[in-house]
């Protein structure tokens, strides 16, 4: 789960990391009032799940409350293109903050490093830029310090990171404290990424989080009720939102035409790849999970068919704990209750596959023996349906 900048900053403040004075607005009037309260030049930042907001035109400076109102009137409700997200996103909420007197911009982040199976603290004095770009062009400008999860972030490890990065020595003590706050927030919120970019060093030598990016582990949402309540779901795909509500693992794939339903993540991904090899384009990833019942199979078919781009559906089931007859029942229920207008190809193997095939004998589906054959058939049928 992604948090918006203003949500992440509230968390940071709770853990003692300084953030700029400011507040969020959803109307031009609110924006004017906040700017007036701040009593100085303000930055208005569109709250969307993407970096590169400045380039997209979602970050503006206002010198007066009146100007803040005008900018807000222009930005709120506007859809802009964000190159970093590769998507058009609508700005519904603005964060208005005091403009900071910037002396230097730093990058700090904590994330998980899968290779070392540890958390890693990343610090760079080349802040305010896209860190992937810095990593590519100036890898030596980035310091990475591994954190032992059993010890947490120790003072010395925080100092290691700062001095390795060439951080301003006189401020290192203060910065180490800030990093420990960042780590506490990262652990306390079950984050998989906690990034402050830039961490602003002001003319007066204060350290303030200028921007924040925050990702939460979806597996931990159950023990983070406060964070779960922050989910707005507003810029999520509506079919994905509905699938999540039904407890179905579904990812919509941009521009695809073949709906894919299978059991087990690896097998579903392989089915997607197989459809591509057969000349088609996968429209989704849908994993019915282990031991799925007929109703959840029917419900999955409904989800996949709710995508209007879908021209054919491929079921690929290799039953271990999942039973072929149960899947077949779900497909049959789907065919009788949903208005199915596209060809459906079914490949059943493993546990009770023969019983499943027998159930499907009279149904208006195409049965396939192997995954490869199933992929080729669904692509051919979808192409044929498109031409007719």
């Amino acid at each position: 789960m992604k948090l918006f900048e203003y949500q992440a900053k509230k968390l940071l403040a709770k853990y003692g990391v300084p953030i700029p004075r400011g507040s969020v607005a959803t109307t031009p009037e609110q924006a004017e009032e906040i700017a007036s309260d701040l009593g100085q030049a303000v930055v208005l930042k569109g709250q969307v799940h993407s970096g590169g907001r400045g380039k997209a035109g979602a970050v503006k400076i206002a010198k007066s409350p009146e100007q803040a109102r005008q900018i807000a009137a222009d930005l709120i409700g506007k859809t802009l293109f964000f190159a970093q997200a590769g998507a058009h996103l609508r700005v519904d909420t603005l964060l208005l903050e005091e403009a900071l007197p910037i002396k230097q911009e730093i990058y700090v982040a904590i994330t998980q490093d899968r290779a070392s199976q540890r958390d890693v603290l990343i610090v760079s004095t080349m802040g305010g830029m896209d860190i992937e770009l810095v990593a590519h062009e100036n890898p030596e400008a980035i310091s990475k310090t591994v954190i032992d999860p059993l010890l947490g972030l120790t003072d010395y490890a925080a100092r290691d990171a700062l001095f390795d990065a060439g951080f301003e020595k006189t401020l290192a003590g203060k910065a180490a404290g800030l990093l420990k706050g960042l780590y506490a927030a990262y652990v306390g919120t079950d984050a998989t990424l906690a990034e402050i970019n830039p961490l602003v060093i002001t003319e007066e030598g204060a350290l303030i989080a200028g921007d924040a990016k925050w990702l939460i582990d979806d597996n931990a949402i159950f023990r983070q009720p406060e964070i779960a309540a922050l989910a707005t779901g507003e810029d999520d795909d509506p079919i994905e939102v509905e699938a999540r509500r039904r407890g179905i693992q579904y990812v919509r794939l941009e521009g695809g035409e073949i709906g894919i339903i299978g059991n087990g993540a690896g097998l579903v991904m392989t089915t997607m790849d197989e459809v591509k090899r057969a000349g088609g384009t996968p429209a989704d990833f849908l994993d019915i999970g282990g031991g799925a019942k007929a109703e959840s199979v029917r419900s999955s078919l409904e989800i996949v068919l709710s995508d209007p781009n879908v021209k054919g559906v491929l079921f690929n089931i290799f039953g271990g704990i999942t039973r072929g007859d149960e899947v077949a029942k779900g497909i049959i229920e789907g065919l009788s209750t949903l208005n199915v207008k596209v060809p459906i190809v079914v490949r059943l193997s493993g546990t009770r596959a023969e019983e499943g095939a027998a159930l499907l004998a009279g149904a208006s589906i195409v049965a396939a023996q192997t995954m490869q054959e199933a992929a080729q058939q669904v692509v051919a049928l979808a192409n044929k349906a498109r031409k007719s």
């Binding site: 032992d148 059993l150 087990g264 690896g266 990833f285 039953g319 271990g320 704990i321 493993g350 546990t351």
Partner: protein, 291 residues
């Protein structure tokens, strides 16, 4: 021979009286696995699975009474981290955690604790491990396997079954099949399993099924360069878009890391015969055995 588990494995099942635990314990017993006990706090003193398996309140009690050296965990995600730590504290040598959906921060902590104690964790979010004809721990369908020279290791459950089924149908049997699981911080990775297959006299060829996300395949590729036995590989998710989690918590391409193309290239550079589709696996295995 085989790797990790065999006839001498004495297994306990944590969560044995739950729906999943009970169902799969029965299947494991049917396969011939030596299930010596189960653990469900509060149900110690009872017997489970038609009176065939004694239940204990704690792992320590179970270990003391049965001499168990392996455990299979079927405990819900919320309680699974504690179950792994309990098994580690009791000194269980091989801990297999089937549970999916464990919080990543907790997973990282227990994976490190198990390692620190010199024990082995397989999983979480995995189908388990099966040594053909001797011992099945977890949820793999035992009937698709048959004895033979192929060792398998995979991040995905059903994809492994697909591969095993294809091999068996082509007359190629297996030694041991290890499902390392689909989470970002698995206790056992490809790099931990490959040396065991390399040392196992019965395993003649290794099949490794990877997927998008992380760099475990690339790390494994470095070791494969030093192996005497041939490796056949497959990578799932060539069509997976970046930034999206594909079911498995660990199956996500982040920035430039975890891309399937990089994995395929790394494996090829290490001399791995990489299948473009699972149906090519048997022929590649046969070619590797002939070479």
């Amino acid at each position: 021979m085989s790797i990790l588990v065999d006839k001498n494995t004495k297994l306990i099942v944590q969560g044995i009286t739950g729906r999943e635990g009970e169902f799969h314990t029965r299947q494991m017993l049917d396969y011939g696995t030596n299930v010596v006990g189960g653990v469900t706090p509060g149900k110690g003193g009872q017997n489970a699975i038609d009176d065939r398996v004694p239940v204990f309140d704690t792992v320590k009690q179970a270990r003391k009474a049965t001499g168990a050296n392996a455990t299979c965990i079927f405990v819900p995600a919320k309680f699974a981290p504690d179950a792994v730590l309990e098994a580690a504290d009791a000194g269980i040598e091989t801990i297999i955690c089937i549970t999916e959906g464990i919080a990543i921060h907790e997973e990282m902590v227990f994976a490190n604790v198990v390692k620190l104690k010199g024990l082995r964790l397989i999983g979480p979010n995995c189908p388990g491990i099966l040594t053909v004809g001797k011992c099945k721990i977890g949820i793999m369908p035992g009937n698709i396997f048959k004895p033979g020279p192929v060792g398998l290791v995979s991040r995905s459950g059903t994809l492994t079954y697909e591969a095993v089924d294809l091999l068996t149908r082509s007359g190629l049997g297996q030694t041991t099949c290890v499902g390392v699981g689909g989470d970002p911080f698995p206790g056992t990775r490809f790099i931990d399993v490959l040396p065991l297959f390399e040392a196992d006299p019965e395993t003649e060829v290794v099949v490794m099924c990877g997927e998008v996300g992380g760099s475990d395949e690339e790390i494994a590729a470095e070791f494969i360069k030093t192996m005497t036995k041939p490796v056949v590989g497959f990578i799932a998710g060539l069509t997976a878009p970046p930034g999206k989690r594909m079911g498995h918590a660990g199956a996500i391409i982040s920035g430039t890391s975890g891309s399937p193309q990089a994995k395929v290239e790394a494996l090829k550079a290490a001399g791995v015969r990489v299948a473009e589709t699972p149906s090519q696996i048997p022929d590649l295995v046969k070619a590797a055995l002939r070479a």
